[in-house]
Each structure stands twice: as structure tokens, then as C-alpha cells.
């Protein structure tokens, strides 16, 4: 797949798009883990929701 004289512009565009998408995915996944961890810590400390549902009910 020859990309011609402007190959660096094309490759940079795709690499940047892939990098930004991966950063978004990673950020959201880590945030999910962090929030579940904080909920687990609070429940372990005896603080629970009125409904009685805990972090174990959240996948």
C-alpha cells in the first residue's frame, strides 16, 4: 500500500485517531473500576444505600 510523498501526514492522522480512542476507552474503564472500588470501600465501612443494593449488584 504505497502512500506517496505525504505518507507521514496519513500515518500520523490514523495513529493519532487510534491513540485518542484508546485513551478514551482506557480512561472510561479505569474510571469504572475506581468508582466501584470507592463504593466497595464505603459499603465495607457500613455505609449502605436505602434500597439495600450494593456494588455486588453492579456489573
Amino acid at each position: 500500500m504505497p502512500l506517496g510523498p505525504y505518507a507521514s501526514f496519513i500515518v500520523t492522522s490514523y495513529a493519532l485517531a487510534i491513540a485518542v480512542v484508546l485513551i478514551l476507552v482506557l480512561w472510561i474503564a479505569l474510571d469504572h473500576r475506581r468508582q466501584k472500588e470507592r463504593l466497595r470501600e464505603l459499603e465495607a465501612g457500613g455505609v449502605t444505600r436505602r434500597s439495600g443494593r450494593g456494588v455486588a449488584d453492579i456489573r
Binding site: 492522522s13 480512561w27 464505603l42
Partner: protein, 243 residues
């Protein structure tokens, strides 16, 4: 399931838990197909291989506006219908929209240098998209600056609706003013002017990026609901300690 049913965050969480794996798989598959089709698409007779930048630039540019449109609907949901998940949806969409707008600006710039001879020009299309990016950053800053999510939600909703004025300006800037940026070649009266060899990979990538947005948005909304639960439990804990 209706919109009212989804007003219950617990029901929303169970729905996203069921949907997200399927959405993630469909997004990955479609992105891989789109990337393959972009790679094997023929060179343009004028632009050569640089036309391949279009397959990442245009979907991101479309989504930069679409996400603000979704946030505007959510803003109406906050201000008019007071839907409990409306401000969650708006807050979760802003960083994703900012990322798409950033990619539209940077890939456009990388496409512009070999085609126009410049990375940047203060023409109406480029400037209005830059303003959109700055508005996304402003909204994210507003959400972070106000601690109480319900207070932040109303201010953010008003700012979002005011910012929606920029969407038609972006869309029609290439018609209203003389711009270096080319006019619309897909969403135009009379149908797309692009050859099928470019149109099909472009549409596949557009659907793939749209699915990516839906997937990331649902996941970010789920995180925001959990963050608010953490906040309310922390407040309960603080009030129990003070008694």
C-alpha cells in the same frame, strides 16, 4: 422499555450491563472493517493517497456536531422535563465530544498542509469548529468547578443550548462565506458527489465512530451514576459521623 423506565438509574445500569458487551463487539468489528476498506480504497486522481485522511477526519467532524446535538437534547431534558438521567447524559458526553472535535481539528490540519499548503487558516469553517472545541472545554470546566451536580446541570444546560447556535453556523459556514474548506460533498441536496469507492468506506467509518460514541457514552453514563452514588454515600457517612 420507554424513556420513563430509563429514568430509574438502577434499571439503566442493568440495561447498560447487558448492552455494552454487544455494542463494544459491534464497534470493534465495524472499525476493523472500516480501517481495512480505508486502507484498500483507491487514490484520488487529484489528492493521491491523502484522501485516506478523509475516512478519519469526516466521521470525527460529523460526530463533533452530533454529540453537541445530543447534549442539547439532554439539556432540554434537564430544563424542561427534569429527566433524572438527562444531566448525566450531558456530562458524560462532553469529554467524548471534545475528543472527536480535537481529532477533527488535528486530522483536518494534517490533511490541509499537503492539500492547501497550510496547517491552519482562520476561515469560517475552521474557526467555528475551533470555537466548538473551546465550548466543550468550557463545559467540562463548568462541571468540574461546581461541586453539586444538580446546580452544575442547570448552568451547563443553558450554556449547551446557547452553544447549539454554533451548529448551523458550522454546517453552513462553507455556503455563507468564502472558505478554504470545501463545501459539503455527502450531506447535500442532490445526493453525495463522492464516488462509491470513497463513499462506502466513509459511511462504514461514520457508522463505526457513531457506534463507538454510543458505547463510550453509555459506559461514561454508567460511571457518572456510580460517581453520584459514591457522593451521596460519602455525604451520608459524613452526616452519621457528625451526629
Amino acid at each position: 422499555m420507554t424513556l420513563i423506565d430509563l429514568a430509574n438509574p438502577t434499571r439503566f445500569l442493568s440495561l447498560t450491563a447487558r448492552l455494552l458487551p454487544w455494542l463494544a463487539a459491534a464497534t470493534t468489528a465495524l472499525l476493523l472493517i472500516g480501517l481495512y476498506q480505508s486502507a484498500v480504497a483507491p487514490d484520488d486522481y487529484q489528492q493521491g493517497a491523502t484522501v485516506k485522511i478523509m475516512f478519519v477526519h469526516v466521521p470525527n467532524a460529523w460526530l463533533s456536531m452530533l454529540v453537541w446535538g445530543v447534549m442539547s437534547l439532554a439539556a432540554l431534558g434537564t430544563l424542561v422535563w427534569r429527566h433524572p438521567l438527562a444531566d448525566v447524559a450531558a456530562k458524560a458526553a462532553a469529554p467524548i465530544g471534545a475528543a472527536f472535535t480535537f481529532l477533527a481539528l488535528v486530522t483536518g490540519s494534517l490533511w490541509g498542509r499537503p492539500m492547501w499548503g497550510t496547517y491552519w487558516e482562520w476561515d469560517a469553517r475552521l474557526t467555528s469548529v475551533l470555537i466548538l472545541f473551546l465550548m466543550y472545554l468550557g463545559l467540562i470546566a463548568l462541571w468540574r468547578a461546581v461541586e453539586d451536580p444538580s446546580r452544575a446541570a442547570r448552568a451547563a444546560a443553558i450554556l449547551t443550548l446557547v452553544g447549539a447556535i454554533n451548529l448551523p453556523i458550522i454546517k453552513f459556514s462553507v455556503d455563507w462565506w468564502n472558505t478554504l474548506h470545501q463545501p459539503a460533498s455527502v450531506m447535500r441536496l442532490g445526493g453525495p458527489s463522492l464516488d462509491r469507492a470513497f463513499l462506502i468506506p466513509l459511511l462504514v467509518m461514520a457508522v463505526a465512530f457513531s457506534l463507538l460514541f454510543v458505547t463510550l457514552h453509555l459506559a461514561a453514563m454508567r460511571n457518572e451514576i456510580l460517581r453520584r452514588r459514591v457522593r451521596s454515600l460519602q455525604m451520608m457517612q459524613a452526616s452519621q459521623r457528625s451526629v
